[in-house]
Structures are given as structure tokens and as C-alpha cells.
């Protein structure tokens, strides 16, 4: 009896303080029944939260083909009404639908890839992921395979070196340092067959074959021997793009211009020859001498033209020389002499206005020009007086238009002739008044 007291009494006191819940709990455990929800998952909440709302939402989402959202809401309904078998069945159905539809979209995506319709493939993979966000293959295609990785993978073979791999992918063994760096390898370390290397894909600009300067120079020299001048210039320019200080390329260009100039000189095209020589480096062997010779020949041509009184052609030829070398004294002399001769001819022809015009283009300090100008000015003054008086005569005879013509001639010969200016003004005023009277 005492034993019974000592066992049962503490248990009963405990149940007094904690309530019979624990007694029930204990009994359940003994019987092997499942636990009831804890205090914060009180059984009364079955009444508080209604699963029907979520079930209804799940059905609506299913109709909209939003299967994931449908499953989520059905899951909520299931958690709130765990004993509802219909919900469990619906969830199983939705899971199956999700799997099937996701795979269907994914497989369609693969077919589009085969047809190289990448946009449509991408859309199918998006749909597969939308249907099943855990579809890893669809995600892989979307994230990596469709967008391109930007590099190629290469497995090292026996006897491979970084230089030959670089040559294989970049057509340039010199880019081996890049492969080594991006794959964390030592540049000189031997490669282990089977090692996977990432070879970054470079743009065309960076994979151009390396520029072989020596080969290009040899080619250019051969072309020069063949007198293929435009090709030599093209190659030389290409070399200078890579090395703008390359003297051999510069010399090749000068050689071309020198030879072309010589050829033009032989055809008596001295001006064109001078222009061509000017494109060459003046220090290039023979260029200065050849330019001098072409200039002398063009000068002689101008002198000949002067002798033949073909003044305009003489002036043009001399001017061409001066355009290239304004300091050339013989050419400056010749052009002044030409203008002087032209002026004198106009004086002889009593065309003083033209004479003045031509002489004014020459250097007034040039001996011949200076004297001719003095002469023509003296004659012009006298002639100006004659024309002025003729004008006065016309004016007195009331031939106003003729008077103005004479005075204008006066001014052409002597622009400083004040009386002529005043008389023209007076005559024009009278003419204006007469017009008004009429």
C-alpha cells in the first residue's frame, strides 16, 4: 500500500499542477497514437482558417495554366485540411501535370534548337521553368547554353604545347601567355594530357595573323623591281601603320616617287614630275638633283615661250615652278620679265590701260618693270588730259553720254584725275534732271 502511495501520489500532484493534458499525452504515447498540434498550433485554428478559399484559388490558377501557383494554393488548403483526401488527390494530379508539361516545353525547346530557332527555343525553356522552376536542364539552357560561354574547351593531347594550342585557336603562337594566364598555368610548364583548358574566344580584330614585317618589306622590294608602284606604296603604308618610324618603308615610298618623277620628266611633264618628287623624302638619294633638273627644264620651256611671245603660257609655266619653290630667283626674274614684255607690247599697241594692268601684277622694283611702268604712267597722264578735253567738248555740245565715256577713260589712265571725277558727277546729275523733266 505504502509503495502504491509513493508511486501514484507524485503523479497525481503533478497532474494537479500541469493539468490532465500531459496525462492524456502520456497515455497517447503509451498507446502509440500520433501527437496533437502544439499550443501555438491549437486545434481551434481548424475553425479559424478556412481551406476552401485556397482550394478555390488553386482551381482558378489551374484554369489560367498557372500550375505552380495552383499547386501552392492547393498545398495551403491541404495543410489547413490535412484529412481532405480530395485535396491530396488534386495535388498529386497537379504534380503530374507540372512534370509532363514542363518536359513537353523543354523537349519542344530542344527541337527548336535543332532548327536553329533560338528565340523560340528560349521561350520554350522559359515556359518549362515557369511550369517547373526546378527544371535544371531548362535553366541550364537558358543561362549558359543559349547565350554562349565566350570560350571554347580544349582537352590537352600528347605533345601539345601552349604555343601550338595558341597557334591552333588564334593562328598566333605568341598568345600562349594568355592561355597560360587564364588557366592558371606556368608559361613554360609542360602540359599534362587530358587537362581541360578554357580558350577564350577573341574577336576578329584580335585574331588577325601577326604582321610579318620582314616578309612585307621583301615583298615591297620585289614589287619595286617590277615597277608595280601602286602596290609598293600600299605595302609600305601597311608597314608604316604598324611601325610609323620604319625607315625602309619610308625609303620604299621615296624610291617609288623618285622613279615615277623621272619617268614624267622623260615625258617632258616637268610640272607633274616636280609634284611627284615633292612627295618623296627630299633627303632621298637623287630626289633633290632630279627636282632641280626638272625645274631648270621647265624654266627653259618658259623662256622659250617668252621668246615666242606666248606670254600667258610662259607665265603659267613659271608660276608652276614658283608654286613649288617660291624662292627660286630665276623663276621670279622670268615672270617679271614676261609681264614687262607683255606691258611693253600693250604700250606699242597704245593700249595703256591693259599695259598698266599687266605691269601692276609684276614686282614694281624689277628693272624692266620699273622703267615700263614709268613710261606708261607718263604717257597715260598725257592721254588722260587728251581724253578729259574731249569729254569737255562733248559736254559743251550737250553730248553728255559721250562726255562721261571720255572722262571714264581719263580715270582709267589716271585714277587720281580729280576734275574727271567731278565732271562725271556733274554730267550724271544733269542727265538725271533731264530725265525728270522729260
Amino acid at each position: 500500500m505504502k509503495k502504491l502511495f509513493s508511486i501514484v501520489l507524485p503523479f497525481l500532484i503533478l497532474s494537479f499542477f500541469t493539468g490532465c493534458v500531459h496525462v492524456e499525452e502520456f497515455a497517447r504515447k503509451v498507446k502509440g497514437q500520433p501527437e496533437e498540434p502544439k499550443a501555438d498550433e491549437a486545434p481551434e485554428e481548424k475553425i479559424i482558417f478556412d481551406s476552401r478559399t485556397y482550394r478555390q484559388k488553386a482551381i482558378e490558377y489551374e484554369k489560367q495554366d498557372e500550375l505552380q501557383l495552383s499547386l501552392m494554393h492547393m498545398n495551403i488548403a491541404h495543410k489547413l485540411s490535412p484529412d481532405d483526401d480530395e485535396i491530396s488527390e488534386k495535388m498529386a494530379y497537379l504534380r503530374n501535370e507540372i512534370d509532363q508539361k514542363a518536359d513537353q516545353h523543354f523537349n519542344e525547346g530542344l527541337k527548336f534548337i535543332k532548327k536553329r530557332k533560338f528565340k523560340s527555343a528560349r521561350e520554350r525553356f522559359v515556359m518549362a521553368l515557369k511550369t517547373d522552376p526546378d527544371h535544371k536542364e531548362a535553366l541550364d539552357y537558358l543561362k549558359d547554353r543559349l547565350s554562349g560561354k565566350g570560350y571554347k574547351e580544349y582537352r590537352v593531347r600528347k605533345n601539345d604545347t601552349l604555343r601550338n594550342i595558341s597557334n591552333k585557336f588564334y593562328k598566333d603562337p605568341g598568345k600562349d601567355f594568355l592561355i597560360a594566364y587564364l588557366n592558371d598555368l606556368e608559361s613554360n610548364a609542360p602540359l599534362v594530357p587530358g587537362t581541360k583548358l578554357k580558350i577564350v574566344t577573341l574577336g576578329t580584330e584580335m585574331t588577325k595573323p601577326p604582321f610579318d614585317m620582314d616578309k612585307e618589306l621583301t615583298d615591297a622590294k620585289t614589287l619595286l623591281e617590277k615597277k608595280a608602284y601602286s602596290d609598293v606604296l600600299r605595302v609600305a603604308e601597311k608597314i608604316l601603320e604598324h611601325d610609323r618610324l620604319n625607315q625602309e618603308a619610308k625609303d620604299l615610298k621615296s624610291a617609288v616617287y623618285y622613279q615615277m618623277g623621272i619617268k614624267l620628266s622623260r615625258q617632258d611633264k616637268y610640272v607633274e614630275a616636280i609634284k611627284t618628287f615633292k612627295k618623296a623624302d627630299p633627303q632621298y638619294d637623287g630626289v633633290e638633283d632630279a627636282t632641280q633638273k626638272a625645274t631648270d627644264k621647265e624654266l627653259k620651256k618658259a623662256e622659250r615661250l617668252l621668246k615666242e611671245k606666248q606670254y600667258k603660257q610662259a607665265v603659267a609655266a613659271t608660276q608652276n615652278i614658283l608654286n613649288h619653290d617660291p624662292s627660286r630667283k630665276a623663276a621670279r626674274d622670268l615672270i617679271n620679265t614676261t609681264y614687262c614684255q607683255m606691258g611693253k607690247d600693250f604700250i606699242i599697241q597704245k593700249d595703256y590701260v591693259q599695259a598698266l594692268d599687266v605691269l601692276s601684277r609684276a614686282n614694281p622694283e624689277h628693272g624692266c618693270v620699273k622703267k615700263a611702268l614709268y613710261d606708261v604712267k607718263q604717257i597715260s597722264k598725257k592721254q588722260a588730259e587728251v581724253h578729259y578735253l574731249r569729254g569737255v567738248k562733248h559736254f559743251l555740245n550737250e553730248e553728255l553720254a559721250d562726255a562721261i565715256k571720255e572722262w571714264e577713260m581719263t580715270l582709267a589712265l589716271d585714277p587720281e584725275y580729280k576734275k574727271a571725277k567731278e565732271s562725271i558727277k556733274k554730267a550724271r546729275d544733269v542727265l538725271e534732271k533731264l530725265k525728270q523733266v522729260e
Partner: protein, 348 residues
């Protein structure tokens, strides 16, 4: 003998009565005090009733509950209020309403039947008080643009959130947008900073370090201040060179060395001056190539931004993230055009 037996009998009777009493009172009064009353559901409960499951919490809302308070309580982040609103497809809360709080993303990648979410990343360069320039937005225009975002339900998110979205881990608000500002002009500190602060918008500044401390640029001290005020400071190379192309007469080796310097130097300097780990980069002129991307990865960058003027889906390339540049002469119509948050799909 009989007496003793009677005493024992009486004691046993008393004992049984005591036991019965103890058991009865224990059962009647011993239930936990926190158990809610089962009989009648209050129409407007004063406290929230809730039930927590693995992937959601269901709550019957109390009067004081808001989306933010629920998000703070169950998601540990009041800023995740939008998750609750979006899942339940509601704008406001009513007392006594059943609300589901999702504990896992329910719309990964912003995927929907009709298409998918895209996130615009806005790229500002400089700001001016009142005169707009090609890349210089006036104070008034910037204020109006930020106000538009605030009033039209846009969520300005951080680059970290954007990268989670690209990892197909997290879920973003349906109208999410990222704000970035390039170079480090002083006008950002003077004009944009107070406006962003006013609206509580996070933003990222991409600086090219040779510019910092120069005439019209911010100082390191000002950058530090921005950083302390929530600005995310990231890299935009050292000298702002176009990294896509070789310079004239630049050898390939020199080019690679130059890009290495452009990527490594600012990362180190920003760490040293601001104690910030630079993990993102904005490409100068928005231009890049595979080699630059490979070198970025080598230097531990996680993402990089172009200027291709589109919005970004979750499957965007993290090293070619699109950005839409905001120009000084953009009006509100043009600004809105750059806020594309959804890409529709019509399956072939």
C-alpha cells in the same frame, strides 16, 4: 485487528477521494493559459492568430497589422511587404482577414504564363542645377523621375537583389528597377544624393578612380560619406579606356596588360580608401568583349554592366547586364519607355 483494518480502509477511502479531487481539479484548471478560447471566434481579434508551416504562414490579421509589420515578424524584413501583397493579390489589409505569408519564392524569375519579368537598370552620368546636357540631367527632371517611381509602385532594388534574381534564387517585386550613376561627378553629391536620400532609394555609383579628386569630381571623403549613407560604390576601371578595342599601334600583350591594370587597380584602391569590396563593374562606353569578361572573372568580379538600353530578364548574362542611359533631354514619356518591367511571349 478489526480496528486496524477499519483505519486502513478509512485511509484508503480518503486517499481515493484525494486522488479523485487532484485529478479533477488538475484536468479542470491545469490547461496551458495560452490556449485560445475555442467557443466563439471574435469578429475583430485583438491579436493575430497564426499557424506556421514549412513554406508559408497563415495569419488572421489583427487591427494593428500591416504588410510591413507582418513581413517584419514572419520574414524578418519589413521591406518584403510586397511579397505578402503580391501572393494574396491584395492592396490593403482588413482586420480579421486570412493572409498567407509565403516563406519561399512563389514566382521565381518573375515567370508568368504570358511572359516574364524584366528589370530595367537606369544609368545616370551627371546632373545640373537647371541646364540639361546630353548626359546631364537637371535637378528638376531627376526629382520628377524619382517621384514618378515612388508614386507608381516601382521598387528600387539593390544590385545584390538583382544578382539574386539572375541566380534564379530570389523573387523581386513585379515593378523593380535599379538606379546606377557613373563616373563620380561632384554634381551627384550636390544634386542627386539629397533627392535619392529623400525618397529612400538605394543606388550604385560606378567610379573610375583616376577621375576621383579631380576638378569636377567628388573627393574620396565625399565618396566615403555616400557609402556611409547607403550608396553602393563599385568600379568603372581606372582611366575609363574603351576596353573592347586595341588602341592604334598597341600590341596584344600591351592591351592585355592595360586591361589587367584597368580591372585590378581600382578594386585595390577602393578597398584601401573606402574599405569596400568592389565586385561589379560598369564598362566604359558600355563596351566589352569575351577577353575582358574572362579577365573580370579572374579578378573576382561577379557582374558587369553595359549600356545597351534594354531591361534584364532573369536569364541575362551577368557580365553583360543591360542598362538604359538617361539623357539630359529625356522627357517623362521617354523616361517611362525605359522602365520596361515585363516581356510578353507569344509561343510559336
Amino acid at each position: 485487528m478489526n480496528k486496524t483494518r477499519n483505519r486502513r480502509k478509512a485511509a484508503l477511502t480518503h486517499y481515493v477521494i484525494l486522488c479523485f479531487f487532484l485529478l479533477l481539479t488538475g484536468c479542470l484548471i491545469g490547461k496551458p493559459a495560452s490556449t485560445p478560447a475555442p467557443e466563439v471566434l471574435p469578429e475583430q481579434p485583438e491579436i493575430s492568430h497564426f499557424r506556421i508551416y514549412d513554406d508559408f504562414v497563415v495569419v488572421k490579421t489583427a487591427e494593428e497589422d500591416t504588410f510591413s509589420s507582418l513581413a517584419a515578424e514572419y520574414l524578418n524584413d519589413p521591406k518584403k511587404d510586397w511579397l505578402i501583397a503580391e501572393f494574396n493579390d491584395i492592396d490593403t489589409l482588413k482586420t480579421g482577414q486570412d493572409v498567407i505569408i509565403p516563406l519561399k519564392p512563389f514566382k521565381k524569375g518573375g515567370l508568368q504564363t504570358k511572359g516574364y519579368q524584366t528589370v530595367p537598370v537606369l544609368a545616370y552620368k551627371s546632373f545640373s542645377k537647371d541646364k540639361p546636357g546630353l548626359m546631364s540631367v537637371t535637378e528638376t527632371a531627376f526629382e520628377a523621375q524619382m517621384k514618378y517611381l515612388k508614386e507608381n509602385g516601382f521598387h528600387v532594388i539593390t544590385i545584390r537583389q538583382l544578382l539574386d534574381f539572375f541566380d534564379f534564387n530570389g523573387q523581386l517585386p513585379e515593378k523593380s528597377v535599379v538606379i546606377t550613376i557613373d563616373d563620380g561627378w561632384y554634381a551627384l553629391y550636390d544634386i542627386a544624393f539629397p533627392i535619392l536620400k529623400k525618397y529612400g532609394f538605394p543606388s550604385t555609383l560606378f567610379v573610375y578612380t583616376d577621375f576621383i579628386g579631380g576638378g569636377k569630381a567628388m573627393s574620396w571623403k565625399q565618396l566615403k560619406e555616400l557609402s556611409e549613407n547607403g550608396f553602393d560604390i563599385q568600379c568603372k576601371t581606372r582611366t575609363h579606356r574603351n576596353m573592347k578595342k586595341l588602341r592604334k599601334n598597341e600590341s596584344f600583350k600591351d592591351y592585355v596588360a592595360s586591361i589587367e591594370m584597368e580591372l585590378a587597380y581600382p578594386k585595390k584602391l577602393i578597398k584601401k580608401r573606402l574599405d569596400i569590396e568592389c565586385s561589379c563593374l560598369a564598362y566604359p562606353y558600355g563596351e566589352t568583349n569575351n577577353l575582358v569578361i574572362a579577365l573580370l572573372k579572374k579578378h573576382g568580379y561577379r557582374a558587369a554592366f553595359t549600356a545597351t538600353g534594354e531591361s534584364n530578364p532573369f536569364f541575362a548574362d551577368k557580365f553583360r547586364i543591360h542598362r538604359s542611359e538617361i539623357y539630359g533631354h529625356d522627357d517623362m514619356k521617354m523616361f517611362k519607355k525605359k522602365l520596361t518591367v515585363f516581356k510578353g511571349m507569344k509561343l510559336e
